[in-house]
Structure formats: C-alpha cells, structure tokens
Symmetry: D2
Subunit: 144 residues, 4 copies
C-alpha cells in the first residue's frame, strides 16, 4: 500500500474546495449516497483543483500527452450524504515522489465532516506507458 497521507480534518488546512450538489441518481435504497459515488466526487474536485491552479486536465491530456492514472483510492465514510446536500470537497496535494503523487480530500456539508479520502496517482503517456510526473506537481499549492 502506497497510501501514506492522513487527510486533515480541519477544512482550513486545505488550499482549495469545490462544491458538488448530490444527485438523486447517486442515492441508494438505504436513502443515502451510495459509497461508490464518492470516487467521482473526488475526481470532479481534483479536476477543478487542477483548473484552479491553471493546469486544466484537458490541456494535460491534449498538450502534454499524458494521463494521470489512479493507482490507489481510499475513502473513509463517516456521516452519510443525502440527496440535494451541497458537499464541499476540499483537496490538497500530499506526498510527491518521482513517479507518483497523493491527494488528500475532506468532504464537508455546512462545515461538518462527512468523509475523508486519499488517491494515489501515476502518469502514463498516450501509449499507456508510465512516465515521469510533470515538474509543476511538486510546487502545486497545498503540497505539504
């Protein structure tokens, strides 16, 4: 397991947050958001974070010719999310190595903690071969 960061539970520790409103399609028969729906939330927030630091993912794909892969993903579900909740997904860049970087996430609703998560990413070129991370990752805001 490469997972090596513990996402802070204090929202002010994060340089960026992205709001997402829960869709009805994301709920399940327990009346709450299905646990698999959280990973697209983390992804949407990560894409918004990259846009925010002026590294939009479409440009990373189309111009740099690379894709960020997901090597590991972890979610800790604390309090259920419900239909129509507006979830603030806080994002920070954690550990960066030559080939991987880790992002930490905190999900809150009205400032109250609902979940935390971590994703570990690598990088592949257009042929699917692993490559070096772009240098700007190391200096992205929020790298701790």
């Amino acid at each position: 397991m490469r997972l090596a960061i513990t996402p802070p539970t204090d929202p002010t520790a994060y340089p960026f947050a992205h709001p997402i409103r829960v869709r009805f399609a994301e709920t399940d028969a327990m009346g709450i958001v299905h646990h698999a729906a959280y990973l697209p939330y983390l992804e949407e927030a990560r894409v918004a974070y990259l846009r925010h630091i002026d590294r939009p993912y479409t440009r990373i794909r189309d111009e740099d010719g690379i894709d960020f892969t997901v090597i590991e993903a972890f979610v800790r579900y604390e309090v259920p999310l419900r239909f129509d909740d507006v979830v603030d997904v806080h994002v920070l860049v954690g550990k960066v190595t030559r080939a991987t970087f880790q992002l930490g996430y905190l999900l809150t609703v009205d400032g109250e903690r609902r979940a935390t998560g971590v994703t570990v990413h690598g990088c592949v070129d257009a042929t699917g071969r692993p490559g070096r991370l772009p240098a700007w990752i190391e200096v992205a805001p929020g790298v701790g």
Copy 2:
C-alpha cells in the same frame, strides 16, 4: 424521432434473452432501481446478443474498426425493479436501414413485464465518421 418500433410484450416474440441481477449500487432512495440504470442493462443485453450470434462487439471494434453509436434511446418503465431481482432482458432486431438499425427490448422478472425499450444505432469508423452498417445486421436473428 427515428424510433419506429414497438417492442412486443410477449417474451416468446424475442429470439434472445439475457439475465442480469440488479446491483445494490443501481437502486435509489425510492428503494427501486434508478431509471438511468436501465440503459446499461439494455447495452449489456445487446452485447450479449451480438456474442450469441457470433458477432462479439470486441471483434466489431478491433477487427472491423467500427463502433455502433447510440442515436436514440427510449425506455418505458412499468413496474419497478428492485435490488437482487434477476431481470431477463429480451432483445430483437427491429427496423434496419442502410445507416441505422433499431433494437427492441422487453424486461421481465419471473416472466412478468417490468419495462420495454428501444435503441436506435448508427455506425462510425475509428475516426468517428459515420459509415455503412455491416451487411450481417440485416440477416441477424430476430429481424422482423
């Protein structure tokens, strides 16, 4: 609207059926299968039908270099599906033109009707340009 077929409500009118067990992830907060989850059911059944007539979709993509696109989709929801239901998705080939073909679907659980659907498909090459349908579609079992 190109949609031009009415799926029979009699299961014996179909040359093929494919069973799918409902996942919990596919339910919603009303306690039933979310309406958007039906389209992947139709798709899974359509892929199984193509495999059944010895035209596996992976071969269509990799060898013939074409993709079937979805031009229109229609679903009529009659009786809700629930978690763990085993749904028989019946498939037939309806109207075929030079550039499009239509599939009709009947969804049953224990022989009782739950939904019907229609999808209209075209064909694109690897560059995304529309192309002619392969000739075998016209003689596929179930063409009415």
Copy 3:
C-alpha cells in the same frame, strides 16, 4: 407510448437552463460521454428547475409526501459530449394531464445543439401508490 412532445431546438423557447460540467467518470472508451449518463443530467436539470420555481424536490418529498416517478424517458443524441464540456440543459414543462406531466430538454454546448430529451412523470405517495399531481405543476413556468 405516452411521449407526446417534441423539444424545441431553439434555446430561447425554454424558460430555464442549468449548466453541468461533464465528469471524466461519465466518458466511455469511445472517448465521449456514455449515453446512459445523459439521464442523470436531465434529472439534475429537472431538480434545479423545481428549485428555481421554488418547489425544491426535497420539500416535495418530505412535506408533500410524494415522489415523482419516471414513466418514460427518451433521448436523441446528435453531437457527442466530451470530458469537461459545460452542457447547458434547457428545461420546459410540456403536456400536463391529471396524472402525468412531460418535460422537454435541449442540451447545448456554447449554444450548439448536442441532444434533446423528453421525460414523462407520474406521482406516487409514500406507500408507492399512484396519486394526483400537485396543482402547481399546471401553472409552472414553461408550460406550453
């Protein structure tokens, strides 16, 4: 088929539009948004429309004790959507009967048409029994 409206292709014919940014999770191996992902877009726009006319769906569920069911859904896919596109989903209320109402949708990106759709809805109480539609539906903005 109850489907009885043709969604206008002119955005100005709609009283409401809701923007949705395409998630990477919603794309498929053809490099475009998977056709099943459109139904949650229509749903999100419909929920936003209800909030906009001051009939938030959470209140409909919790206070009025009813749920809107989906009886039929139709989508016509014209030009593919791609990752990171911002899709404007235009919504109008079409035909209203005592027991059902129909919504029409137009999806555009930068003002250009990508898809249209129709959903037909009924109404159930907390026990799942069909009921009468609330009267406000008949006078909702956009009823044509």
Copy 4:
C-alpha cells in the same frame, strides 16, 4: 484508518470467487474501466458471497432488519480492466470485531492479478442506528 488486512495475491487463499463481465458503460475515455466502477464489482461479489454462504442480503435486510454499512473502502489498481473482460472477484472475510468486519478482494482475469481491495463494514438497524453484528459473521467461511 481501520483498514487492517492485506488481501492475499494468491487466488487459492480465497474461499469464493464471483465472475463479472465488464460493461461498456463502465469504461472511460482512457479506454479502460473507470476506477469508480470497481466498488460496485466488490459489492456485487460480496452480495454473491453472502448468498453462497446462505445469508442472502435481501434476507438480512428484510428479516433481520439490518443493513451493512460501508465504513471504509480501499482499492489498489494494478493492471487495467477492459471492456468485455471477465473478472473473477475473489472474496474472503478478514478481521471481525464486535461492531465491524473487513472483507478482502482479489480481482483476476484469466488467473492474472488486476487489482486488490478491502472494505470495512458496520451494521445499522432500520432506523439507521449502529448495532451488533450478527454472530454468523464470525464463523463465515474464509475468516482468517
């Protein structure tokens, strides 16, 4: 983090495996299965495992009046899954405490490892309050 088991990479270490064929809807624009689609695979396999040991989840919900919640989920993605792959999802019961149990997963295609995963579960009653786990979990096959 409660996650405390490491899923074995040897398929023979697992008492149960469940085959799932990848849907086209589950792929993404990188041409592989989207990372969020793995969690429903683990869920489907877990439900199949419970049925296999004669504890079908529908009975757990309807008769015992409890639901298993997901407290934590972890996936390690090693080799991508592709459309139409038949994935064998191996399941075992790992650590069991009074209030939680952990399941380990190994995903293989043609016997080759593609991913591993862990889910940590608790138990709630019909009102959503946490409860004790049923005793049979402790003696389920595969508890290591």
